[in-house]
Symmetry: C2
Amino acid sequence: MNATPSSTPSSTLTFTAEQQLDDDVLERRFTLDDIPGFLWTPASATPAAPAPLILLGQPGGLGMDRMYPRLAGRARHTASAGIATVALEAPGAGSRPPLPGADQARADLRTALAAGEPVPDDVVDRLVLPLVDRSVPEWRSALDALLALPEVDGPVGYSGGVIAVGVRLAVVEPRIVAAGLFAGSYVPRSTVDEARRVTIPVHVLLQWDDEGNDRQAALDLFDAFGSTEKTLQANLGGHTGVPAFAGDDAGRFFARHLR
Amino acid sequence: MNATPSSTPSSTLTFTAEQQLDDDVLERRFTLDDIPGFLWTPASATPAAPAPLILLGQPGGLGMDRMYPRLAGRARHTASAGIATVALEAPGAGSRPPLPGADQARADLRTALAAGEPVPDDVVDRLVLPLVDRSVPEWRSALDALLALPEVDGPVGYSGGVIAVGVRLAVVEPRIVAAGLFAGSYVPRSTVDEARRVTIPVHVLLQWDDEGNDRQAALDLFDAFGSTEKTLQANLGGHTGVPAFAGDDAGRFFARHLR
């Protein structure tokens, strides 16, 4: 892959701890300046045969330590296909300082939900867009640093997390060639407009009865993607009920596009 | 599988021709009374190890001879998973006499489409319901005859074809344990009501830009299924543009439920 300049000045990647998982996956904790993260690389990743990379997005607010078992599980599964994965603590999550306005936006969301009303557009915007605006340059800096490692190369995929972050990354970051997105978070109207500019293959997971999600907004977003290959996979169940076979299908999507 | 009485008196299955495909699939032409059909069985299917069976539905009106290359391709692919497949000439298709009222219903459909109007419910009903009413007992008779063969057993799946036929079969035929449906044909309102009574796992393919299909009707139908496992896979493209990976995913759905 050719390096593409990101929108932020270069950051410093420092490995702080490492352990082997199952003998064939190396897990390394790192900091990117002051942002904690994890890098998982398969044993097959060497300077002679560097691995493709998937950016593992996370749900807003939960924090990497709480998400660790799920992230490490996905990292192991992905490594078995010869692909490296990286997670970054999201802005406002874990030990990172809260995003300005986030508490008020969450309070306004709870008020709307308690009243049984549709969540107003401005609440969705205040909830999601500050996270998008902060996350995307951080992911791009992480890419600059990680693709400079001899054992990691590309192509690069983006998987999961807050869907508006994935859409923005797919638009602005040409090193990302495929996106597996989870329609499990609120969708700002501006994200639907951005989706029209997405041209890479996308694989969208939707939980049909997701309690924290507007199904029609997810369908509108899927409709908007400008990609010539796009797949929506909707499964019965709530936010956390994604069936195991759906994870396998998403894995095959990435294997098709990254190997 | 236990035999379950079907709604029609027993029919006579007569094999009329056979050939080997690729050495490991046996293709037999048959008649079920006066209805032509094909049975494809993998070499692994023996009286000691009888094969599960998938009923291959077909689009309305095209006829089995015209569909043969696609049907045989799916039969080969399915046989590689150790599963037998059967196709039946649909009522009104190929050499079979036209269904009463079918010409008028098609003419009314063309009139509505030419006027750019939504297709009236009664036109959809007249187009689809006579086919459902005739096909379903024929499929059940075919099941009675085929499950009596020593090399074919069960469980049984239904795949493709006119979606209203698949929904009715899933409701009335307890030997069918999984249905892979193609949302590519008009959906009578009564079919949406029937879908609420479907409890077997369903895997629904939808072509997002299908010119001969009402996307919202397909989404409403998916929503209505009463199954605790249901998956909608929507892909970019028109009626005939189902991507190869979607066929593979449907194959894995059947392998999960029939093996």
